[in-house]
């Protein structure tokens, strides 16, 4: 990547940010970034700009464009954290995290309800992952997927399972107890 014109004077940061501020606010609004995280995201953007200033041809376009990327990434990462937390919790449970047999059976039954709602392809993937404890490369070999293919399928299936778990309605007896 050829560096941008380095003979010109670098734009003064305060003036640049003042100019671009309404656009950044619009990006924050469009991406519905929580107030408590918006300052951190903006600060990271400005630091990133300072680190890459030599390579940037149009600072305003770069700041706004990069901020859109970062906001999209913010949600993707939050989503991934949640999916990984759920995946990790299921793996812990199946590895014997819950000592009481009754609790373990309840969890397996509730989990099966969620899994039953998934597509056949995801059910096969989940059966091998949680049922037989296979890692992604083993699942890929068993189901005939490529290395990159299995990464995509794994991510889609775990996403779908997360959605199913979050949309579970309480069982009737829970209402009665309440």
């Amino acid at each position: 990547l050829r560096h941008a014109d380095q003979s010109r004077e670098p734009d003064e940061l305060p003036a640049l940010l003042e100019r671009v501020s309404p656009d950044l606010a619009r990006v924050l609004y469009r991406f519905r970034i929580p107030a408590q995280d918006s300052d951190d995201l903006l600060q990271e953007l400005v630091v990133q700009f300072l680190e890459n200033r030599r390579r940037v041809e149009s600072p305003e376009a770069w700041l706004v464009g990069t901020f859109k990327f970062r906001c999209a990434l913010y949600w993707r990462r939050r989503r991934r954290n949640l999916v990984e937390a759920i995946d990790g919790a299921i793996l812990d449970e199946l590895a014997g995290g819950s000592p009481a047999r009754q609790e373990h059976d309840d969890l397996s039954r509730d989990l099966s309800r969620a899994i039953d709602e998934l597509s056949e392809r995801c059910r096969s993937f989940i059966r091998l992952r949680y049922g037989l404890g296979y890692e992604n490369p083993e699942v890929a070999e068993r189901l005939g997927y490529s290395k990159t293919g299995i990464r995509k399928i794994s991510s889609r299936c775990l996403d779908a399972l997360t959605d199913e778990i979050l949309s579970i309605e309480p069982a009737m007896e829970a209402f009665e107890n309440a």
Partner: protein, 446 residues
């Protein structure tokens, strides 16, 4: 009614759920939250769902002054780092390569993002003239990058830098005809950039290099998708020059697809966008590509006129590789115009240059152009030494066994004076494909 029941049933503490959502909960808490969610707690599911189904919050106005006060110190530090890197670089580039390695390996003063950037800039500069040196400079940048203290820079900056370096390494391998190594370096780059900050210039460049490598591998559909993605990002960032560079790459893909009209259109657009001050070598490459496309389209007279106009600039500013390509182009234009004697001289200059630069496949392709010229003029006896020379070069440079075997067949046919134009065309096509498929065997049809 249902919501009320759900609230009554919820017994999970808010901070436990927050830790779970951020991926920071310990296993015992994860298990508790999972059991709780599976029991159907609506309020907890609703709280997690914005992260699951994305985008549901109100906006704050950005507070520029607060942010400026927080980054003031970082800005001063980065300015100082840049000034030091400039100073170090001025001294560093005076040394020969082995001494540069010694300096890098023995001193921590080079360990900065700014110095790694200087190495990357020099690496890109060298790619036109000396791809092996470009690779070496990128490898030096990698040595610096892996030693960087990641906490000293912004989130994801170290991954971004390493990802960009691996992408440059991939491109250097491509430029020196090592496509398997290019492919593997590209995969490393993609993985690192995925873990990085999402900086769009780095992503656009990755797509750009992906297109170049897929083009060299003749995976042209993938190359086209990649180059369009890189163009889209450069357009979004309003970097006309780099979008022009992508357009030039797109023109080359069209050319290989045999769509010469689109190639000429893209090259014209690229020429209008590329800034000669920002990258004079790229500008040369674009002008060279334009003449090449005219030649491929059979417009020999126009191509010769354009080349004559360009020639002084080539000789004045062009790097070794660019000048070799100019001789190659000139030889082909002259052959097209029926001027065999001067065509031979130009092709011979290009061939000798590629051999001494150790760029085997380019050397072989030029040699085949020369062979066609000999075959057309009935000088089949001259194919023998040419074929023997090529075999020696391929074996010396350790080119894939199957490609060497194809050249041995060429040598045998030349010795038997049995080389035909059809055979040369098949060998040319084979050499284009074997670069990306090293196990491919040459089996000419009669």
């Amino acid at each position: 009614m249902l919501e009320a029941n759900r609230d009554i049933a919820c017994t999970l503490e808010g901070d436990v759920l927050s830790r779970f959502e951020r991926g920071e909960a310990p296993p015992s808490e994860r298990s508790r939250v999972l059991t709780h969610l599976l029991s159907g707690c609506g309020s907890c599911s609703d709280r997690l769902r914005p992260a699951a189904s994305v985008r549901k919050f109100a906006d704050p106005a950005p507070s520029i002054h607060r942010i400026l006060s927080r980054v003031a110190e970082i800005e001063l530090r980065l300015d100082a780092e840049n000034a030091t890197a400039d100073e170090l670089w001025r001294d560093f580039q005076k040394h020969p390569s082995p001494r540069q390695w010694t300096l890098l390996n023995n001193s921590a003063r080079f360990n900065s993002l700014a110095f790694a950037e200087r190495l990357l800039e020099a690496g890109l500069d060298a790619i036109y003239d000396d791809p092996h040196r470009a690779l070496e400079l990128n490898q030096m940048a990698l040595v610096v990058a892996v030693r960087l203290d990641a906490h000293q820079y912004g989130r994801g900056a170290a991954e971004d830098l390493r990802g960009r370096i691996w992408a440059r390494i991939a491109n250097s391998h491509r430029a020196s005809s090592n496509l398997p190594a290019a492919d593997s370096a590209l995969a490393t780059a993609a993985e690192l950039l995925q873990a990085g900050s999402g900086e769009p210039l780095a992503e656009a460049e990755l797509w750009y290099f992906t297109a170049s490598i897929r083009r060299a591998q003749r995976r042209l559909d993938e190359a086209m998708v990649a180059i369009r993605r890189s163009r889209r990002i450069y357009r979004l960032l309003r970097d006309q020059h780099l979008e022009g560079r992508s357009l030039l790459n797109q023109a080359m893909i069209h050319e290989i697809q045999g769509d010469l009209d689109s190639a000429v259109v893209c090259t014209r657009k690229a020429l209008a966008q590329i800034d000669p001050k920002r990258d004079p070598k790229l500008c040369f490459a674009a002008r060279h590509a334009f003449v090449w496309n005219l030649m491929c389209a059979g417009a020999a007279e126009e191509a010769q006129r354009e080349l004559d106009a360009l020639k002084p600039t080539y000789l004045e500013n062009g790097d070794r590789m660019v000048i070799l390509r100019m001789h190659w182009l000139e030889g082909r234009i002259r052959r097209l115009r029926g001027d065999r004697a001067t065509a031979e001289a130009s092709l011979r200059q290009a061939l000798d240059g590629f051999i001494s630069a150790e760029i085997p496949y380019e050397a072989a392709t030029v040699a085949l152009d020369l062979s066609v010229l000999f075959a057309e003029s009935g000088r089949t006896h001259e194919l023998k030494p040419l074929a023997a020379e090529l075999v020696e070069v391929f074996q010396r440079l350790g080119v894939a066994r199957e490609a060497c075997a194809a050249l041995l067949m060429f040598e045998a046919a030349a010795r038997a004076e049995a080389v035909t134009l059809g055979f040369l065309s098949q060998l040319n096509d084979y050499l284009g494909r074997v670069r990306s498929q090293p196990g491919l065997v040459f089996s000419p049809k009669d």
